[in-house]
């Protein structure tokens, strides 16, 4: 699919939610209306038992998209082919329309750190990731998408901005972008850059999915904890992103202090409203029509 095609030709699935264990009973028994669910691939890369049974139940009635945390695409360690084989086997079960993981490294010298560690923005790292991302995408035979991570450190060796690094990898490896708007917000705070500059710089047609999540502000820095609701600042940034890239599958992540399903679902609906508003503005802009301004509804009674 040409890179000039929106979302690289992948579908807009609407508003999805991260499928997490505390919600299994509700989802499997009540079957709430959800456009799609994202699953963490590693949670289902097991030989058997309950995880695979739950996966089968999730497949009944819901579109599933795989998202991973352990590929370590930026590691200087060799690619883990056993991991990739298991990952590919899982794609056959889920029929995921694309597969994403983070633009980061998680291991070195065979030691797994199980963290989404940022890369230095260097030509060396760029070439390394481009080569591996191409290999991974070819092997998996499904569109591979890289996600920008939250970072708490910046390297003295970096020679370009994060958005230039991300853009060049996506273009040169011909992979998709999972744009994590919360991560942009977090990193922008931590490294003192303008979040909109990041969004305005990335290749819009390569954005195949967006992530939204909550975070924890520690005062001097922000940690991407995936706890709590999406704050307004991230929501506003999301609208800016939608206005730029158009209708893209959007996912709410909530991994810490996970609330009742209804609360998560309501977060999804808030995102939907923001997305609809942003798409309306985008359509108005593209058609040259003046933007419609929503007026507050009239009060039902007039106070004396």
């Amino acid at each position: 699919m040409s890179s000039s095609t929106p979302r690289l030709g992948l579908p807009d699935l609407g508003i999805g939610l991260g499928l997490r264990i505390p919600h299994y009973a509700h989802v499997f028994e009540e079957r709430p209306a959800v456009d799609w669910f994202e699953i963490i691939s590693e949670n289902f890369m097991v030989a058997g038992g309950r995880p695979l049974r739950n996966l089968e139940r999730a497949k009944e009635g819901y579109r599933l998209v795989q998202h991973g945390v352990s590929m370590s695409i930026g590691s200087s360690d060799p690619l883990d082919w056993e991991y990739l084989r298991k990952l590919k086997a899982l794609t056959r079960i889920t029929q995921t329309p694309w597969l994403s993981d983070h633009l980061c490294w998680t291991s070195a010298g065979g030691t797994q750190l199980h963290d989404l560690l940022p890369l230095p923005y260097t030509e060396e790292a760029l070439k390394h990731v481009v080569s591996r991302a191409r290999t991974v995408q070819d092997f998996l035979e499904v569109r591979f998408c890289i996600e920008n991570v939250s970072s708490y450190m910046s390297y003295t060796s970096s020679v370009m901005s994060e958005w230039e690094f991300v853009t060049r990898i996506a273009e040169e490896a011909d992979v998709g972008l999972l744009l994590d708007v919360n991560n942009i917000y977090v990193s922008a705070f931590n490294h003192d850059f303008d979040a909109k500059t990041f969004i305005d710089a990335i290749p819009a047609n390569r954005v195949t999915q967006i992530h939204l999540a909550g975070h924890t502000n520690m005062g001097r820095y922000i940690i991407d904890t995936h706890s709590g609701p999406v704050i307004d600042g991230v929501g506003d940034l999301y609208e800016h992103a939608i206005e730029r890239v158009g209708s893209v599958s959007t996912l709410i992540e909530w991994d810490d202090e996970i609330p009742a399903f209804e609360v998560l679902h309501a977060e999804g609906e808030k995102a939907r409203a923001r997305r609809d508003a942003a798409l309306a503005r985008r359509a108005a802009r593209d058609s040259g029509a003046p933007e419609r301004v929503a007026l507050p509804s009239a009060p039902s009674a007039v106070a004396p």
């Binding site: 030989a47 070195a108 797994q112 750190l113 560690l117 450190m153 001097r220």
Partner: protein, 310 residues
């Protein structure tokens, strides 16, 4: 990262072949990541050690609010928090046995000696039992702690084990009565047999139920069967003879010789009691799904010649 050795020979008068581009470009990236992997696994703060602070300044920029060493310490703290949390999920019984501080000490020592090697956190505890053999647990708790670790590891194996193929009931029903004498029993991959010195299963069960059970201090040797049923891991205590019979069968001995071995040297009345119990044990084993298959021995004429035979 180094280049894979070439399979082609290089003439002596040619310079050694340079590594391929794909591998060589990662050389300094590898150095950087190796350094950080060590720094992030330090138990104590980087910002408090002057020499490491200098290293941090060379690697990270910091900013007006956070120093380079503090930036690295964010990741260092996350390494320990994430892995302690993961191990705590795996070892709720051990957490109860040891208490907070000794548990933290054990986890820190374990992660230092056995750094995570698998992308999957599910495999993080797999070396814990071997490591625990030489670990100096607090006085009076070593036996119970080691037994609990072995039990909780078996629990994970059973939970995540591959689904066994369903037993072919029709084939088994068609087996001639005489075939049972030589048939071998294949134990299910989601069954574990354990000999434990303490009733660790009761402790873990109570902890998971939200209770705070007594920590057993006197050894109580037990034979346990851990198995998965309806995707739940369950346990059952076994009589010593039932456990011994199951072990013989799991080792590949057919039923009749196994019973014979178990009965060997016993008084006649003991053998009679044993004979009465075997049927009940088998019925229970079947109910619990202990056997994944029953394989008939081939008739003698069909047996292949021994290796090296004529």
């Amino acid at each position: 990262m180094t280049a894979a050795p070439s399979t082609m020979s290089t003439p002596a008068d040619e310079p050694p072949r340079l590594p391929t581009v794909d591998d060589s470009h990662a050389a300094s990236l590898a150095d950087l990541q190796a350094k950080l992997a060590i720094l992030f696994r330090r138990p104590s703060a980087i910002a408090k050690e002057p020499t490491l602070t200098e290293t941090a300044v060379a690697i990270a920029t910091g900013n007006a609010r956070v120093t380079p060493a503090e930036q690295l310490d964010i990741y260092r703290r996350q390494f320990w928090l994430r892995h302690h949390d993961s191990l705590l999920e795996d070892f709720p019984g051990l957490a109860h046995v040891l208490g907070d501080d000794p548990l933290d000490d054990f986890f820190t020592a374990y992660l230092t000696a056995c750094p995570p090697r698998s992308p999957s956190l599910r495999e993080l505890p797999f070396d814990a039992s071997a490591f625990a053999q030489g670990y100096p647990f607090p006085d009076g708790k070593a036996g119970l702690a080691r037994a609990m670790i072995a039990y909780e590891l078996a629990f994970i194996e059973v939970f995540d084990g591959p689904d066994p193929a369903p037993l072919d009931g029709a084939r088994i029903a068609a087996m001639a009565p005489s075939a049972w004498e030589t048939a071998r029993f294949v134990v299910s991959p989601i069954v574990r047999r354990l000999a434990v010195e303490f009733p660790v299963h009761r402790v873990r069960y109570a902890v998971r139920a939200g209770e705070s059970p007594e920590r057993p201090v006197v050894a109580e040797p037990l034979h346990l069967l851990l198995f998965r049923q309806y995707d739940l891991v369950r346990f059952e205590e076994l009589e010593r003879d039932a456990a011994a019979l199951l072990e013989l069968l799991a080792d590949g001995m057919p039923l009749v010789p196994a019973i014979g071995e178990l009965a060997a040297g016993r008084a006649e009345e003991d053998v009679a009691v044993l004979g009465q119990k075997v049927g009940g044990w088998f019925k229970r084993f079947a109910e619990l799904g202990v056997f994944a298959d029953i394989i008939e021995a081939p008739p003698p004429a069909d047996r292949p010649a021994d290796a090296g035979g004529t």
